[in-house]
Amino acid sequence: MADTIAFAQFEKAVMPHLHAAYNLARWLLRDHHDAEDAVQDAYLRAFRFFDSFDGVDARAWLLAIVRNRCRSVLGQSSRRADVAEFDERVHTADDSVSGPESGALRNAEILSLRTCIDHLPAEYREVVILRELEQMSYKEIAVAAAVPVGTVMSRLARARIRLKDCITARVRGVAR
């Protein structure tokens, strides 16, 4: 019965962050199925270690577990761990970004941004996703990414410079 209560508390605290968990996993692993498996693993793990949750920030706590899962998945398959082996086809054959409103140019813009984010090293990519898509504070990101706040700050700054350069380079490439 104690576990039934723990389960109810867990559901209340952690289930609301399922989208955040999947979004992070999807960006880190760049694959729908891998991301779903990692999120499920992370939830089971989170449930098992729910006692260690300090009750403050369930999202950051959960995302730290999700990130660790993703890291070990990436570690297992060095195939995907390497940015150099990044598969461009995955990014051209996705219809999720094309709506009825969006023209070809708009699609190209979106695709180009996504490709640039995907090309970032994982530790840069995660801070960008957590900052811009989850709108987390540096302190929250520090918890989720298990690094000091100062590291969050410098990683974000470097990630932004890389992103900016990547986008500029792609614009030039298209124009040429």
Binding site: M1, A2, D3, T4, A6, F7, F10, E11, M15, L18, H19, A21, Y22, N23, R26, W27, A35, E36, V39, Q40, Y43, L44, R45, F47, R48, F49, F50, D51, S52, N68, S72, S96, V97, E109, I110, L113, R114, I117, V128, I129, R131, E132, L133, S137, Y138, M153, S154, L156, A157, R160, L163, K164, I167
Partner: protein, 253 residues
């Protein structure tokens, strides 16, 4: 403020992560420095673009249902052995008293639950830990290499324990030995945290699904127990409870 230090602070400035003094210094610098002002503008554009164009991948309802099923399964797997006690705890006070009386009349074995079994094993685990330190029989195979320790158990046990060195995290593997617990030979793995020895006992369990960490403290020793992938794990040490728990989490990762 120099250009170099200002450039580093523009990114946190836009994230509203600078204190008021730093923020106003950077702002003042940008009033006279065109390059830094431009950089701020570019960062702003980038931020707008990422927020507008980077897809937010939402979880599907199928994933939610799948996780919900898996969690319920994990929760009920843990609940089941303790179910009689759970019900009694939440029954009315009268029912509780009656049940206690019944338990008294029928004897302790009638309500023998996994929890009680767990407590017995925890006792055994502590005894084994103390014995291993007293008798100077801590280690049969001395190695900090998991690839030496794991094969050593082959042929001595009818299962293969997971052997993981956590030296980078401060829990160095020092070796392994055979031990006897819960009526069977088990793997004993020895770790060192500062001056503290951690014994980690591993043997097969009936429960196939994993269980959450449970902690015990017996006569000054801390014990953390969990199970996963058909194996049951008992870590015991005079190390403080928080660090022993961290060890268990790292080990089960």
């Amino acid at each position: 403020m120099t250009c170099d230090s200002a450039r580093e602070l523009i990114s946190p400035l836009l994230d509203a992560e600078l204190d008021a003094v730093q923020a106003s210094e950077v702002e003042r610098h940008m009033q006279t420095c065109v390059a830094c002002a431009e950089l701020k503008f570019e960062y702003l554009q980038l931020r707008e673009r990422v927020r507008a164009d980077a897809p937010y991948y939402s979880a599907t309802e199928e994933l939610r249902a799948r996780i919900d099923r898996a969690l319920r399964q994990a929760a009920s797997a843990e609940d089941r052995p303790r179910a009689p006690w759970g019900w009694i705890a939440f029954a009315s006070a009268a029912g509780f008293a009656a049940a206690l009386l019944l338990a008294f009349v029928l004897g302790p074995n009638f309500f023998h639950s996994e929890r009680a079994g767990g407590d017995l094993i925890a006792q055994e685990v502590v005894s084994s830990h103390v014995r291993s330190l007293m008798a100077g029989h801590l280690i049969d195979v001395r190695s900090s290499d998991q690839h030496t320790v794991k094969p050593w158990f082959a042929g001595k046990l009818d299962f293969s324990p997971k052997v993981k060195d956590l030296a980078p995290q401060g829990y160095g593997l020092t070796g392994g030995r055979l031990d006897y617990l819960d009526g069977r030979p088990v793997a004993g793995l020895v770790f060192q945290r500062r001056q503290h020895v951690i014994n980690l006992f591993v043997w097969p369990s009936q429960a196939q699904s994993g269980s959450r960490l449970s902690t015990f403290a017996i006569t000054g020793f801390n014990i953390v127990h969990w199970s996963e992938a058909g194996l049951t794990y008992w870590a015991v040490s005079d190390l403080n409870a928080a660090e022993l728990r961290e060890f268990a989490q790292l080990y089960s990762e």
